[in-house]
Amino acid sequence: MNTMNNSVEIKNLDLQFGAVKVLQDLNLDIGKGEFLVLLGSSGCGKSTLLNCIAGLLDVTAGQIHINDTNVTWTEPSERGIGMVFQSYALYPQMTVEGNLSFGLKNAKLPKAEIAKRVKHASEILQIEPLLKRKPAALSGGQRQRVAIGRALVRDVDVFLFDEPLSNLDAKLRADLRVEIKRLHQRLENTMIYVTHDQIEAMTLADRIAIMRGGQIMQLGSPDDIYGRPVNKYVAGFIGSPSMNFFDGAIKGGAFTTGDLTIPLTGYDFASGGAVDGPATLGIRPEHVVTGELVDNAPVKVDVGVELIEPTGSDKLIDCQVAGRHFRVRMDGQADVAVGQKLRIGFDPGRASLFDAATEERL
C-alpha cells in the first residue's frame, strides 16, 4: 500500500507492563477515511492499542505514525486525534458548552473560532438545546453525543472510539450506532473503533481487526471475517449463534466424523488441495437448510429436534449430528416441535476447515 494514503500506521509495536506483554510486534496500516474496528474479547489488548495510538500510554518498542508524522513521542493533544470514551468522561462541573470548548480553550483558539466550531458540532449532533446544561442533567444517549461532540470540535482527521456504546441500553445502542455510521459517511474521517460487540463491528466497519493475546488474528472486511475466518478462534468468535464444529479427518477428498462422511467438492482450499490428516470442520447454524431446500444440498442428515429457542425472527434448533451437539437456525414461523424428526442439509462450500493441530484454515 502507498504510505501516502495511510492515515495511521503502527509499526512493530510492543507494550509491556512489567513482565506482561500486552501487545506484541503489532503492525497495522489504516487508510485515510477508513472505519477500522478492533474487535476482541476483554483482555485482548484492543483498548490498550487504542490508548497507545492516542498517546495515553507510552509504548515499549515500535512506532506510531499519524498522517505521515512519527507521533510516538508526541503529546496526545498534538497528535491530531479526538477520543470518545466508554464512560463518556464528561467534565461534571462544566456545562455542555464548557465541555465542548475545553480543548479549544487549551489550544488558545480565538473566541469567535471556538464559538463557530461548538455551534457546528452541536448542529451536527443535534445537541444545541443542551448547551447550557450540566452533564448530570443529560440522559446516557445525550451524554455520549456530547462526548462525540468533544472529539468533533477538535477538527481532527482521526477519531478514536473506546467502546462508546457499551454503557447504553440496547435500543439506544442501535440508534447511536447508525448515527456514528452516518457521521462517518458525512465527515469521511478515519475512525478507529474498539468494541467487543460483533454486531457493532460487522455493521460499522470497513475492515475489522480481530485481536487476541495482544496480536491481530485476522484483518479483513466483515464479509471476509465472517465467510473465511483464518482460524478456529475467529470462526468461533464471529457469528451468533456460534459455529458448529466437528472433529474428524480428511481422507481422499472427504471429511469423516463419526458415521458421517462429507464430500469436500466445492470447498475452496486455502493451500491448493485437500491433504489427508486430522481436521476440524465448522458450519454456521444459518448455513444449514431445512424443508424443500434440502433436496439441493450436497450433504443431507436426519436429526431429532431436542430443544427449540424461539427469538421471534428465528428459531434455533438443538440436535445431534454424528454424535455431536449441533445447532440449526430456522425461520421464526417454521412449524417444528421437540421430538420431531427433521431433515437438514448444508453445502460444504460454505463450511470452514481447520487443521486439527494448528487450528489454521485449510
Binding site: 496526545p76 493533544s77 486525534i81 487549551n106 468533544r150
Partner: protein, 301 residues
C-alpha cells in the same frame, strides 16, 4: 374476577406492622440513651460550673444548675487569667493558634493535594517507593522526631517562632493527607483524566480545572482533620514555641495547672470550653460534608 377487587383481601397485606416497644427497640434506644448521657454529662457539668461563682462551687453540688448566672469566669479566662508571669488570659494563645492553624492548614492541604494528584494520575518513576516512604512516615512516633527537629529549626533560625511550628505541622500532616488525596483522586474515573489530556490540558490545567472542582468533599475532610489536629496539638506547641508564641492549648494548660493560689474551677472550665470551641464550630459547619467525603474516599478505591 370482578368481585375480587371489591372484596377485602384476607390474610397479611401491606406493610408488616411493627411494635414501638419491641425488645429490639428498647435495647437500641436504651443503649443510645445511656451512651448519650455518658458523653453529655461531663459537658453539662463543665457548662454549669463555668457559669457559677466560686462560693457556689464550694457548696459541692456539681450537677445543680447555677443559682446566680455569671459570665465573669469566661471574661477572666479570656483576658485576665494568669499563666506564669503574664496575666492576659487565653487571648494571646488564641491569636497565636489562629496564626499557626490557618497557614499550616492551607499549606499542608495545598501540597498534599498536589502530591496525591501526582501519585494517583501521573505514574512517574519511583512513585511507589516515594509513596511507601511517605506512608511509613505516618507510623513514626512524634517523640522520636522531637529533638532532631529542634536542632533543624535552630539551624535554620525558626526555633521558637510561629513560622517554625507552621513548618512542623505542614510536614507532619503530609503522610495522612497525601494518602487521603491519593485515594480520592484514584477513585475519580481515569477516563476523565485521559479526556483532559487529549483536550490538551497539562499537569496544572487538569489539577485546577478538572480535579479540584470535583474534590470539594475531600478538601473539606482534609480541612477538618487539619484544623482539629493542629488546633488541639499540645506537644509540638510546647516544644517548638516560646512563652510569647505559645498556642492556645499550652496557655490553657498553664492556666489550669498553675499551682499558686486557689483552684478556680469555673475559670478552668470556661477556658477549656473556649479552647474547644473552634474545632467544634468547624465540625458543626461542615460535618455533613465530612461524612460524605470520608465515605467517598474510603469506599471507592
Amino acid at each position: 374476577m370482578a368481585d375480587a377487587s371489591t372484596n377485602a383481601l384476607s390474610g397479611p397485606q401491606g406493610p408488616k406492622p411493627r411494635k414501638m416497644l419491641s425488645r429490639r427497640n428498647i435495647f437500641l434506644y436504651g443503649t443510645l440513651f445511656v451512651i448519650t448521657v455518658y458523653y453529655a454529662l461531663p459537658l453539662y457539668v463543665m457548662i454549669v460550673t463555668s457559669l457559677k461563682g466560686m462560693p457556689e462551687i464550694r457548696l459541692g453540688n456539681v450537677f445543680s444548675p447555677p443559682v446566680e448566672v455569671t459570665f465573669q469566669p469566661w471574661v477572666k479566662a479570656w483576658s485576665e487569667a494568669c499563666t506564669g508571669l503574664t496575666c492576659n488570659g487565653l487571648s494571646t494563645g488564641f491569636w497565636n493558634s489562629v496564626q499557626i492553624t490557618i497557614p499550616s492548614v492551607i499549606l499542608s492541604i495545598m501540597i498534599a493535594s498536589v502530591n496525591g494528584y501526582a501519585l494517583a494520575n501521573w505514574k512517574f518513576k519511583g512513585a511507589d517507593i516515594f509513596f511507601t516512604i511517605l506512608i511509613f512516615g505516618a507510623f513514626i512516633p512524634y517523640q522520636v522526631m522531637l529533638y532532631p527537629i529542634v536542632i533543624i529549626l535552630r539551624e535554620i533560625g525558626l526555633y521558637g517562632s510561629l513560622g517554625g511550628l507552621v513548618l512542623v505541622h505542614t510536614i507532619f500532616g503530609m503522610p495522612i493527607l497525601t494518602l487521603l488525596f491519593r485515594n480520592y483522586f484514584t477513585s475519580l474515573p481515569e477516563e476523565l483524566f485521559k479526556a483532559a489530556r487529549v483536550d490538551g490540558a497539562g499537569f496544572w490545567g487538569i489539577y485546577f480545572r478538572i480535579m479540584v472542582p470535583m474534590s470539594l468533599p475531600i478538601f473539606t475532610v482534609a480541612m477538618i482533620l487539619q484544623v482539629t489536629g493542629i488546633w488541639n496539638d499540645f506537644l509540638f506547641g510546647v516544644v517548638y514555641t516560646g512563652p510569647e508564641t505559645y498556642p492556645m492549648t499550652v496557655s490553657l494548660n498553664n492556666i489550669v495547672n498553675s499551682t499558686q493560689g486557689v483552684k478556680e474551677y469555673n475559670v478552668n472550665m470556661a477556658a477549656t470550653l473556649l479552647t474547644g470551641l473552634v474545632p467544634l464550630l468547624i465540625y458543626f459547619v461542615s460535618g455533613r460534608l465530612f461524612v460524605r467525603g470520608i465515605a467517598a474516599g474510603a469506599v471507592k478505591g
